[in-house]
């Protein structure tokens, strides 16, 4: 049975892929965008959504999500993660391979794809491992991973320390036209570090991770991308030095793309004061000048996309000594609101520019469907209220985990409805534009 057509009436329709921005109707049917224009007639049986004063845009795409399944279903499952995704305006997420077992073979890739279909919320694209077991030695079977549905490879969480392995991965990935995503961290410099190395780590007596630990690997990866002609995608960039290296590489035409996370453009290492383990993440929160460099890089495109690095952890794993607490925060349900508040409301980015960084460009660099409202594109749509004022209450999240440093923060803007493949995957309770049932 095909879904009923959905007509989104009178919203501000922004499609960065086509450079369009104006009040229009959007009609989706048969899982596709059917039409975008003024005064579209209402098809029989259509669901009509009043999008007046709201933004209608291609669904957000997250290139960096940890869904924890298989292996750590107590933290998150593909179903709960995909639900959190649509509640945050994401219609597709890319799942990092550091699961248990590791996503280094077609069996695990296929399992993730099936679980995502069963959940029926956001699309989930698996990212395969670079190396067997993420052990940093033997290349995983990229051909088999891609055949089963993987869209990229990464050993995320475990930096690729061997330059030889990174070189061969970049070369071999060219066969399949997929990017190699790297978590840039020079382990011998970062070893045992719990936060950014600076005045706050000095005061708190915590071992620091210097910015150079990231920048050394960014420089290496850029050189290897140049050497091999492969596409390197640099995960969660956090330092001013990384931004400068990427800027120079792009000027030279090297195939490098990069992402930054909302926490790195919002917070600094001062969030670790009081040993708040919800501010513990890797790469760590850096200094004010790093945060500013990340913001500017998102403005000028040196950093291509915003990604969440959504990393669920159980509350009692974070309820412990800072040194022993795990890294990471959840991000799917706060990414868009933080970006709207920190980047758009401050005038740094226009709304179309933000949507480029959160939808169109992610689709382009990982070669995914979506990221546009062009006729015939997948009917993946987000309806955003850019003016909604709300307070972050983690207990209301759809994610299984609650580890966020943004509890109690006042934000402006959020998703109100998310359509995936022509079906309403989620709408906010009390959404004013909701169709009459």
């Amino acid at each position: 049975m095909s879904a009923r057509p959905i007509l989104l009436r009178g919203g501000r329709v922004i499609d960065p892929a086509r450079g369009s921005d104006g009040v229009a109707d959007v009609l989706v049917a048969d899982e596709r965008v059917e039409a975008v224009g003024r005064n579209i007639g209402e098809p029989d049986g259509a669901i009509v959504v009043d999008a007046a004063n709201l933004v209608v845009a291609p669904g957000l795409i997250d290139l960096h999500t940890h869904l924890r399944e298989p292996g750590q279903e107590d933290l998150e499952t593909i179903a709960t993660g995909a639900m959190a995704a649509v509640a945050g305006g994401f219609t597709a997420v890319c799942a990092m391979p550091n699961t248990d077992p590791v996503c280094d073979n077609q069996g695990v890739v296929g399992f993730i794809v099936r679980q995502a279909l069963r959940a029926g919320k956001a699309r989930v694209y698996p990212i395969g491992a670079i190396s067997v077991g993420q052990k940093g030695q033997q290349l995983a079977e990229f051909g088999e991973l891609v055949g089963a549905g993987a869209v990229a490879v990464s050993d995320d969480g475990k930096p690729v320390m061997s330059s030889h392995l990174m070189r061969t991965a970049l070369e071999y990935a060219r066969v399949f036209g997929i990017p190699v995503a790297d978590h840039c961290e020079e382990m011998t410099l970062a070893q045992g570090g719990a936060m950014h190395e600076g005045i706050v780590s000095t005061r708190l007596g915590l071992k620091g991770i210097p910015a150079a630990a990231e920048e050394i690997m960014v420089a290496r990866d850029i050189l290897l991308a140049e050497l091999t002609g492969g596409h390197v995608h640099l995960c969660h960039m956090s330092t001013r030095g990384s931004v400068e290296l990427i800027r120079r590489a792009k000027e030279q035409g090297i195939r490098v793309t990069a992402e930054a996370c909302p926490h790195h453009f919002t917070l600094t290492h001062e969030a670790c004061e009081g040993y708040d383990t919800n501010a513990k993440m890797n790469p760590p929160l850096r200094e004010a000048e790093d945060r500013e460099a990340i913001r500017q890089a998102l403005r000028d495109g040196t950093i291509d996309v915003i990604a969440t690095d959504h990393a669920p952890h159980h509350y009692d794993a974070k309820e412990r000594e800072f040194d022993d607490a795990p890294n990471g925060i959840i991000g799917l349900e706060t990414a868009l609101p933080l970006a709207l508040t920190e980047l758009v409301a401050t005038g740094l980015l226009t709304l179309p520019e933000l949507l480029l960084r959160m939808s169109t460009t992610p689709a382009r660099i990982f070669g995914l469907p979506g990221g546009t409202l062009a006729t015939g594109a997948p009917a993946d749509v987000v309806v955003i209220d850019p003016a909604a004022r709300w307070e972050v209450r983690p207990e209301e999240f759809h994610s299984k985990s609650r580890n966020t440093p943004f509890r109690g923060r006042l934000l402006t803007g959020r998703a109100e409805m998310t359509i995936v493949g022509g079906r309403i995957a989620w709408q906010r309770r009390g959404f004013a534009g909701a169709p009459a049932q």
Binding site: I199, S201, E321, F322, D324
Partner: protein
């Protein structure tokens, strides 16, 4: 103006005001005398239950706290948890909540992780005293160093104190920096750059590149213990070279323009960071530091338990209740 109090916990010297620091030091003065009596006991903490929760090996600090508690008539229990709470399989917060369920009044905690004392203090109603947390703070050591300096110079303000050695890994250094700067002393740090923390200048200290610079500059040297494992971790080439370049030796001290007071938090590595003839020399106050340790710990316990400061509170056997 009412007298300052310390609040519920003592997790570090960083949050304390100059008035609070002076309150503790002044309260410690009369407690010194208690330890000189034939019967070393006052009833101030009678009926109070204190747990000494030591997740790291410690001899001096643990014994010093225990004496302080016993001389105040508290009931004490020592828990030596070998290794971290993680290896025990019970989390720190569970351990603490179980102890609290036995209705205790205070916890003295020594832990290998920075922030452990604050973490505990935020989660239990009992008073928490930090007896050293990772590389963060060791406030009672800082206080006994302040008391020893004040005993010898009759002031803290305007003193020049050089903290020498492994500042990077030292909780003693951090507590000393906060306590000294808040009371108006000038603080210098001296050690190999590999063992100085990033941006340490922003703590308001002067960097003294060579031990000779520290000796020429300071009124007192606080010589930190060099942990032997720092060599394996690659921070210094060898203990021998460390002694040659950064050791506090009699030859170096003899070239100083004035006589320096020598402090060391112990335990010492004789012949590494400090030579024996300096440690045992006439300007060393290493043993008076240990004596003062009991007095400042009595003062902290007394004040946190709600005891009122005042001249002769201990001699009068003032009750904290």
């Amino acid at each position: 103006m009412s007298a300052p109090s310390l609040g519920k916990d003592l997790v570090g010297l960083e949050p304390l005001s100059a008035d609070q620091l002076r309150l503790i030091l002044d309260t410690a003065e009369p407690f010194k005398e208690v330890s000189e009596r034939p019967i070393k006991k006052v009833p101030a903490l009678r009926g109070k239950t204190i747990v000494n929760l030591f997740f790291e090996a410690s001899t001096r600090t643990r014994i010093s706290f225990e004496f302080a508690e016993k001389r105040l008539s508290a009931d004490t229990v020592n828990v030596a948890a070998s290794g971290s709470s993680v290896s025990k399989g019970e989390t720190l917060v569970d351990t603490a909540k179980n102890l609290e369920a036995m209705r205790i009044d205070m916890v003295v905690i020594r832990h290998g992780s920075s922030g452990a004392a604050q973490f505990l203090g935020q989660r239990i109603a009992s008073n928490v005293i930090n007896a050293g947390d990772g590389k963060h703070e060791h406030p009672t050591q800082g206080l006994l160093d302040l008391l020893t300096l004040r005993d010898n110079f009759k002031r803290i303000e305007g003193l020049k104190v050089a903290i020498c050695g492994d500042v990077l890994h030292s909780r003693v250094a951090r507590s000393n920096i906060w306590g000294l700067t808040r009371l108006g002393a000038e603080v210098g740090v001296c050690g190999p750059p590999t063992l100085l923390p990033r941006d340490v200048r922003e703590l308001g200290v002067t960097i003294l590149p060579r031990i000779e610079d520290a000796i020429a500059w300071a009124d007192a040297l606080n010589v930190l213990r060099l942990q032997l494992e720092r060599m394996q971790a690659g921070f210094i080439p060898s203990l021998r070279e460390y002694n040659r370049v950064f050791g506090v030796t009699r030859e170096r001290l003899e070239r100083a323009p004035k006589e320096l007071l020598i402090l060391h938090p112990g335990p010492m590595n004789r012949g590494v960071e400090i030579d024996s003839d300096v440690a045992d020399g006439e300007h060393s106050v290493i043993l008076p530091q240990v004596t003062n340790g009991v007095a400042v710990r009595m003062a902290v316990l007394y004040l946190l338990a709600g005891g009122r400061p005042g001249p002769g509170q201990a001699a009068a056997g003032g009750d904290a209740a």
